[in-house]
Symmetry: C2
Subunit: 329 residues, 2 copies
């Protein structure tokens, strides 16, 4: 299998999938910069190449257009088979909706294996999720998700089901590819689905061109999200039910108020630093068993599936662990 | 309000919330490195400080223990009020379950505003999500989420509801804080909730100490996840229903197969490069209206809420946009 991938006596080729982060030099990692320097050939969407124009002088540069991700992967494979070192660049993180997936699909299709003559390295970077969050405050302090509103490769029911599920279960949500010239309605549907579960005044941040000259940040609320200025270069961040905006900063609490009195720093009655909440798994299970309520009532009260509640009640309570405390994160 | 935060004539203090990424020097951004160099004082959990020991020589270094996030924020505020520059360091990204949220909560509590004498900057970094993904292949090529299994500040029903929702709607899921000496059962419950919706052979990757000397990667399946070697330094990645493991690499497809024939690269009948799928929003809506099925039947078929289907059917179909194509991402 190895011999069919590269010609004999060719030096070992390499594909480096490089996450550029937001694209400014300051936010490149040392490894990302070194990978670009090491490469003979740079391949990427024309906008991303422009972000690192000063680093690619003297190299073969292949700029691709939209809808050509598979082409970029195929070109990278072709150069690497000739023994070249190729940097396939993406903004943000190469793994998040990026080139890493398509590249492996192309490589596997061609019979490549990791022990063949082509080495593959993925160099992580901060995704739009992280860079936009850093600009608006601290929205990602609790459970969060990313959903792409692009239905170019994904059926709409799949996307809608995900939007509804995370709105219901109160995640912080980052919408990638929220809108384009052609796709204007998906953001309207996202708002509709969210309003089934969330307050209309849920904070929303819209960040365009993070850390670039045309950077723009707008705060709004869920009920006005769809009418806001959103484009191809925007990331939309929807807060959870505890997220607030104060002094122009969007913050999602981690939950210290569940355990501590904010003024004094003391723990509430029944709570303990370094230990699970009284409504953490063990305490909650004990409460479930002691409640005397039916599985149907408990399922409604806790908004959990009835069969899950039934399975928990069918098992005896376990003894507590007695090990060391841990970090609250 | 400004005068109560710092003494008059004090230089402007600064708090820099620095994401160290996985912690190796190669994966620090230039800005992260510069921020540490700029700081008079470095504060962080002892393990994170150790990751940048060579960069903090000659500076005041305050190492904190677990469950002391609020203390770290309070110390940072205290130094900044004296006009010092403080780097509050976190592994990964400072915004993801990190120090950014607690810091703003402490600052707001003390009456700080962004135009006061203390400047705050958040420096993004690649989160464990991204760095672990980069080591195992390309799992994050489609919608994903992060859930912390720590119930130290969050009630268990909230966590369980989120686990069930994302298992149902087929996200790729990263579990942070999956297990500790004391918290051993939460990962068992996560597996139980996931098995309600997902195949037992769903691929799972467990990454410990990414990019550090004791790095360890294990692949397993959902039905064996809870019995695997998982600890405080581990991140667990659960694939979606299309994720596969081949040649030791975990890959989530982006969906090219929905549109293209893999062998020839040609689009399937009825599909078009650069355009929404035939089952994208517009095409799916048209099919909904044309189906003649009841809202209940359609809700069951597409696994979407019945009231949402009803709302869509109550609206007339809109005309298509006729604008330019876009990138498939």
């Amino acid at each position: 299998m190895n011999d069919t991938v590269s010609a004999p006596n060719t030096p070992r080729g390499k594909i480096m999938l490089v996450g550029l982060g937001p694209g400014s030099n300051a936010h490149l990692t040392a490894r990302a910069r070194a990978a670009i320097a090491e490469a003979d050939t740079i391949i990427g969407y024309v906008t991303y190449i422009r972000l690192v124009a000063d680093l690619v002088v003297g190299k073969e540069v292949i700029k691709k257009s939209m809808t050509e991700e598979l082409d970029r992967a195929i070109e990278a494979f072709d150069r690497a088979r000739q023994g070249k070192k190729v940097a396939l660049v993406s903004s943000g993180d190469a793994g998040v909706y990026g080139m890493a997936g398509p590249t492996f699909e192309v490589l596997f299709q061609a019979g490549w294996t990791p022990d063949s003559d082509i080495e593959v390295e993925i160099i992580p970077g901060a995704s739009a999720l992280n860079t936009c969050a850093a600009l608006v405050g601290a929205p990602l302090t609790h459970d969060f998700c990313a959903i792409s509103l692009s239905d170019l490769l994904t059926p709409w029911p799949t996307i809608a089901r995900r939007l509804d599920a995370v709105a219901y279960s109160d995640f912080v949500v980052a919408l990638y590819n929220p809108k384009s010239g052609r796709r204007t309605r998906q953001i309207v549907e996202a708002q509709r689905l969210f309003l089934r579960h969330r307050r209309p005044d849920t904070p929303v941040a819209i960040v365009k061109s993070a850390y670039r000259p045309k950077q723009r940040i707008e705060f709004t609320t869920l009920d006005k999200m769809a009418e806001s200025d959103i484009g191809m270069l925007s990331t939309v961040l929807i807060g959870n039910s505890n997220t607030f905006i104060r002094h122009g900063l969007m913050v999602t609490p981690r939950g210290y108020r569940n355990k501590y009195d904010v003024e004094s720093g003391a723990t509430h009655d029944g709570e303990k630093a370094g230990r699970s909440l009284s409504t953490g798994l063990d305490g909650w299970l004990a409460g479930l068993h002691a409640s005397g309520h039916s599985t149907a009532e408990l399922a409604r009260e806790h908004r959990l599936p009835e069969d899950y509640i039934a399975a928990l009640l069918a098992e005896p309570l376990a003894a507590d662990d007695t090990q060391t405390d841990e970090i609250e994160a």
